[in-house]
Amino acid sequence: MMAGGSARATRKRQGTNLMPSQTPLPLGARPELLKMEGIDKTFNGDVVALKGLSLQVNEGDFISLLGPSGCGKSTALRLIAELSHPTRGRITWAGGHDTGDLGVVFQEPTLMPWATVAENVWLPFRLRGASYASVKDEVLQALRLVGLERFQTVYPRELSGGMKMRVSIARAMVTRPRLILMDEPFAALDEITRFRLNNDLLALKEKIGCTVIFVTHSVFESVFLSDRIVVMAARPGRVIRELTVDESYPRDEDFRTSSDYAAHCRSASDALHEAMGIAA
């Protein structure tokens, strides 16, 4: 991993306080954060998970990777997280990066059942050698942002599915990473909880000013959350279309019922059908 760049240096000057950040720049004016160029990923020599994937991620983007099962969305996230390596092509971070630059939320909350809510959120700091006392403020602030400050001493088993996912999100953002990867985090939740978490996620993103790559199967979720939707097709996994949802944030329930939202959903749905048609 390379040394930190200017963006990280700026963030370090600000400390890890989860303070409200400035409004993201317009889509075309955002500086580059990460670039994937000509990525191929093949498993066992013959299963082509990704073919020629190129994607530029800019600071402040909320990108949804939308596509049918097996199109390589999760593989792309694993490559960015360096959990596996591309067969061909390269991924470069503008100005380099370190482990603190990345937060991850999985489909399951993936909490440590033996640790309290606060201890779970403390984990990223703990692995960097920080004592709880030294980062208690950050941990509590992260929990406050996801509405769980009162539950800091509770064990995960006592929480509902939605609350567990909030803890997972708090853990991902407590170190104020530059990029958060979310792999279908709300897929297992009921519709009402999912809508509520969608709203909260946007509010959080606005507060901490990070970049998000969000994997989803849901057209509606991708349109509500993102300003860029990357539609992928399967066999081999590749990008077939990129859509922009150039609607201002914050987005609320009014946006969900607006004609603009419906039009974006129609476009995304058409692109998804195209992706599935190509795959068929």
Binding site: A81, E82, L83, D98, T99, L102, V104, F106, E108, T110, M112, P113, W114, A115, L123, P124, R126, L127, R128, F151, V154, Y155, P156, R157, E158, L159, S160, G162, M163
Partner: protein, 287 residues
């Protein structure tokens, strides 16, 4: 179970027929848990006593429960000293089994090569009956205590090793990925992820190992067979057998069984205390 749900107290709780039936069943369960085994014990003792009296069985063949109890009181000083010796060997063997089992399990999970090299031999040690190995051990090991300890350890360490290895390898794969992404060192992964994940498995193995270390200690005493100061309960049983002192054999047997139960109960309590806050096995749920 969710604390997100409303906990507001209803001023007049409604108890329907289902609730009442469940409450009754719970009460009966609580009572039955203690009274039924006690009842079985009383009936068995009564039948045992009647069989001895009605058939006029001599005490050197089958003593009645009263005589066994009397002997237990009369020989208490000698039997209690012997029990302490056996308990000492058992607990020391258990401690060494825990250290050896957990230590080896950690080594196995740190390196596939070490696991591949040594695991087959751990299995061989486990499946070879201790009564077959014990005589050899007492030929080569001079110290009697060390010999007893080695025998008991050989019997007890495998469940700890096997369960802990399984537990260390059972850490959630997403959490493993998360630790990797967050740049955890091997030591941090072991300490914060694998060891806590392995705890329920380890405690399961420990409960088995507790009983096995007692068995190992008793078998080793039989094989060692030396008397004098420092002799344990198994030796007292052998000695009483030679003298046809059957009531003492029964009294010593009762002490061994009691010791086994206490060890099991103690380890179960330890397991409950360590897991009660978070692990499914220690949580009470409504049925």
């Amino acid at each position: 179970m969710s604390i997100a749900e409303d906990r507001g107290a209803d001023p007049a709780p409604i108890v329907d027929a289902d609730e009442a039936r469940r409450a009754r069943a719970r009460r009966l369960d609580q009572i039955g848990k203690w009274t039924l085994p006690a009842l079985v014990l009383l009936v068995s003792l009564f039948l045992w006593d009647r069989v001895v009296v009605w058939n006029e069985i001599p005490h050197y063949i089958l003593p009645g429960p009263g005589l066994v109890f009397e002997t237990l009181i009369k020989d208490w000083a000698m039997l209690f000293d012997a029990a302490l010796v056996t308990l000492q060997i058992t607990l020391m063997a258990l401690a060494v089994a825990v250290l050896g089992g957990v230590g080896l399990a950690i080594l196995f999970t740190q390196s596939r090569w070490i696991e591949m090299s040594f695991y087959p031999y751990a299995v061989i040690l486990q499946v070879t009956p201790i009564v077959a190995i014990a005589p050899l051990i007492f030929i080569y090991v001079d110290s009697r205590i060390a010999g007893l300890l080695l025998c008991a350890w050989l019997v007890a360490f495998f469940p700890v090793l096997s369960n802990t290895t399984l537990g260390l390898n059972s850490a959630d794969h997403n959490l493993r990925d998360l630790f990797r992404i967050m740049g955890a060192t091997r030591w941090q992964r072991l300490r914060y992820l694998q060891l806590p994940s392995a705890l329920p498995y380890f405690l399961g193995g420990l409960r088995i190992a507790g009983g096995l270390s007692l068995i190992g200690a008793v078998v080793a005493e039989y094989v060692a067979g030396t008397g004098g100061i420092g002799s344990g309960l198994a030796f007292r049983i052998l000695e009483a057998g030679y003298r046809l002192n059957i009531p003492r054999m029964f009294a010593a047997l009762i002490l061994i069984a009691g010791m086994g139960v206490i060890i099991f109960a103690g380890l179960s309590f330890l397991s409950h205390m360590l897991l009660r806050k978070w692990h499914e096995s220690a949580l009470k749920r409504e049925r």
